[in-house]
């Protein structure tokens, strides 16, 4: 078979459970039976129960075999994953729902994440596998979700609350439109290793890669220099050139962004916005991060109207009130100075004290 290419992914129809094949595109409505459990009803009257289970995403083949075992037992050998990396058991026999949940509870699986909950944080590689991280991904996510577990297991928030994490501002976690985004940031310019630069890097490409024009040729060294005043630690140069690492135990850490949104329900998609410019990397449990996130979640949950997402709530009360209520200090880093900065300035004397 060697040499076979471009045959594409497995054909989805071969993988769908019978109830879906039968009712494909003929779903009529759904109900949220209880946290972690959805019921979809087809035009035909057929029912499909979904039991959602939290996943650490970084899983072993043993874990996959475990959940396959469960799917064999309760779901006719079918399961799926969600766009946020949760696992979903697809049950067509209503009588299997409670036994499945009991089994899952017994085995310690995390059932939840539906409705007005905090679902699985989309996240990235961090120190597990990437070369540009400013923080770890899986570790913070684990710490944050342990802390916020009640909001995964129950649907008691005013609205959806999507938390995402990216370990550097490449933002593989697509955190930029999350209710709460946790973003690894570097705070020190790259340290130029001239030997590596000479050996491994195409100098014009590295210069071109810098969004702020901070990189200049260093003709003497046949290498590069960085104008440190202009560098905002994006790591673009490092992606182009291994001779410019910027990771640093003191410089690196985490920033918090809030109010983003993807769906167009009620209000259009929004970007998340910076509210805490830096929290230190404090493994294994990043207590500064978990408590900052919990504070924001809880202040929002207390003050928001029903169905009001984080960003919708802030739009209603105003950012000045957000900082007030959360007690988060307003610092100069939060004020934009990139390309579209002027759009974020306030051009009216109407604001709250």
């Amino acid at each position: 078979m060697a040499g076979k290419t471009d045959f594409g992914p497995p054909f989805y129809k071969d993988l769908l459970p019978p109830v879906i094949l039968k009712n494909y595109g003929q779903w009529k409505y759904h109900e949220r039976v209880k946290p972690g459990v959805l019921k979809h009803v087809a035009e035909s009257g057929d029912e499909l129960y979904t039991i959602r289970v939290g996943s650490g995403r970084l899983v072993s083949t043993d874990w996959i075999r475990d959940v396959c075992g469960i799917a064999d037992q309760f779901c006719g050998g079918h399961l799926r994953f969600t766009s946020r990396h949760n696992l979903e058991f697809l049950v067509s026999d209503k009588n299997q729902v409670e036994p499945l949940i009991a089994h899952l509870n017994k085995e310690g699986y995390a059932v939840g994440g539906t409705g007005h909950a905090i679902s699985n944080p989309v996240h990235t590689q961090g120190w597990i596998h990437c070369h540009t991280p400013a923080t770890d991904a899986s570790g913070i996510v684990k710490a944050v979700m342990d802390d916020l577990y009640e909001y995964f297991a129950d649907s008691k928030l005013p609205a959806y609350c999507r938390i995402s994490l990216a370990c550097c501002l490449n933002m593989c976690g697509a955190v930029h439109c999350s209710d709460i985004a946790i973003l690894g940031i570097h705070r020190k310019p790259p340290h130029v290793n001239h030997d590596t630069v000479r050996a491994k890097c195409e100098i014009p490409n590295v210069i071109a890669a810098c969004p702020t024009g901070a990189i200049r040729p260093d003709p003497k060294e046949k290498s590069l220099t960085v104008n440190e005043d202009k560098c905002m630690y994006c790591g673009n140069c490092y992606t182009m050139c291994p001779g410019m690492p910027l990771a640093d135990p003191i410089g690196d850490g985490v920033s918090i962004w809030v109010g983003g949104k993807i769906s167009s329900a009620r209000t259009p998609p929004k970007f998340s916005r910076l509210v805490i410019p830096f929290l230190p990397n404090n493994p294994p449990r990043w207590p500064e991060v978990t408590s900052a996130v919990r504070n924001i979640v809880e202040i929002w949950a207390t003050h928001a109207h029903k169905h009001e997402r984080m960003g919708e709530w802030i739009d209603r009360i105003g950012w000045e009130r957000f900082f007030d209520l959360t007690g988060i200090p307003f610092t100069v880093q939060l004020i934009d100075d990139f390309t579209l900065a002027s759009e974020t300035f306030r051009s009216t004397p109407t604001f709250k004290w």
Binding site: P9, G54, V59, A110, W127, H129, H131, D146, S263
Partner: protein
């Protein structure tokens, strides 16, 4: 946590209700040295507060330009089993549906060649097979091919496209996301596997404006299902929701962004001025038994979404308000090709589609790909007077 544990920091992450990735690494470590070294290198990162991976060189499998991310430890002496620790991006099936049979086959292949660790799934949607040495890549791929799993994208190519569950389980789906995804993936196998563009290009497909695959924020091409006619209303079911305690005025009508709904609390009658509805989904989301998208379905096409590198994050922009989406999806595929061509010709290295449109102007883009300007493309017309005229127009 054992006193003499060699991973005292990570061990703390085995506690607590959320599933523990540390436990997973340890499980794999029982069988695989690479998983074990990963664990210990990670513990070191937790101590040093810094990553220990080096920039990856180019590694891959025969015939493909992408699909593998090269990765090397910067402490290869200490952690030799992860000195080379490349990941394979394996193209997932539409909607992430699996049979246990298929998954077990996959596990077998990966246990044979790699670390036994995976991401189910990567942020783009691929199955990530996390960590194998260079010499294992080709054999691993060969075995994957055997069981019908192909690689996904990486580098400057079309990335593995993804879609929401759509008609598989969702009553809101206005397009067949699963089928469209499969069809697009098959159509663009070459673009997926052989980097040929200025930079990466992503396609994501959601069945309705809830956008459960976050296409608007993280794909160069966002396809979002919608409808052209009126919301279908089952008045009886509306009444049921009201009777069951939903405050339809406060929860539905008052939150309708266009103000196009009216609720007569006495008569328990809901009326919608569909001409003014913008199909935001809110009312349908709240009363799925009572309200349903219309019947004349299709998709809105948006382009340009992306993360911040290099010129700032962008949300995708409407370029086709409505397109019918029926197999073989020729109109959509042709549009994608046309846009890629324009991007390929004009884009600088590492310039995503959205950035190119920003640089050359939406007008140049629309002209090049032959799309008519319509007000649905914009939030508001320009506020600055700096616009151009074609000499032809000035006569």
């Amino acid at each position: 946590m054992a006193k003499d544990s060699k991973t005292p920091l990570l061990d703390q992450l085995e506690e607590g209700p959320w599933p523990s990735f540390v436990t997973e690494i340890k499980r794999a470590a029982e069988k695989k040295d690479s998983a074990k070294d990963l664990l210990h290198q990670l513990e070191r990162s937790y101590m040093d507060r810094i990553g220990h991976w080096k920039h990856g060189g180019i590694v891959g499998v025969k015939g493909y330009g992408g699909g593998v991310i090269g990765r090397y430890s910067d402490l290869p002496e200490e952690f030799p089993a992860v000195a080379e620790f490349h990941t394979l991006r394996v193209n997932m099936p539409s909607g992430w549906f699996y049979t246990t049979e298929k998954l077990r086959e996959l596990c077998d292949v990966w246990d044979k060649h790699g670390s036994g660790l995976t991401n189910m799934h990567g942020a783009t949607g691929d199955i990530i097979l996390l960590g194998a040495p260079t010499n294992a890549l080709q054999p691993c791929f060969d075995d994957l091919a055997e069981i019908g799993f192909d690689l996904g994208g990486s580098g400057s190519d079309m990335r593995t496209p993804s879609c929401c569950v759509g008609p598989g389980r969702c009553e809101y789906a206005c397009i067949d996301t699963l089928d469209l995804l499969h069809s697009v993936t098959m159509e663009f196998q070459d673009e997926l596997h052989r980097p040929m563009f200025p930079y990466k290009s992503k396609i994501k497909i959601s069945g309705c404006p809830n956008d459960c695959v976050a296409s608007v924020a993280r794909s160069d091409f966002s396809v979002i299902g919608t409808w052209r006619d009126s919301i279908r209303v089952d008045s009886g079911e509306v009444t049921n929701y009201a009777n069951e305690g939903m405050d339809i005025q406060a929860e539905v009508v008052d939150l309708c962004p266009t103000g196009c709904m009216k609720w007569d609390a006495g008569a328990k009658k809901l009326s919608i001025d569909d001409g003014e509805c913008n199909r935001c989904m809110h009312c349908i989301n709240l009363m799925p038994k009572a309200l349903r998208p219309g019947k004349e379905k299709g998709a809105t096409i948006l382009v340009g979404g992306k993360a911040p590198i290099v010129r700032g994050a962008l949300l995708s922009w409407v370029i086709v308000p409505f397109m019918k989406m029926e197999p073989p999806y020729t109109e959509f595929k042709e549009l994608v090709r046309k846009i890629w061509e324009w991007w390929d010709e004009n884009g600088k290295m590492r310039e995503r589609l959205g950035e190119l449109i920003n640089r050359l102007g939406m007008r140049a883009f629309l002209k090049a790909v032959d799309l008519p300007p319509v007000p649905q493309m914009i939030r508001a017309p320009r506020a600055n007077p700096y616009y151009f005229w074609d000499p032809e127009e000035v006569k």
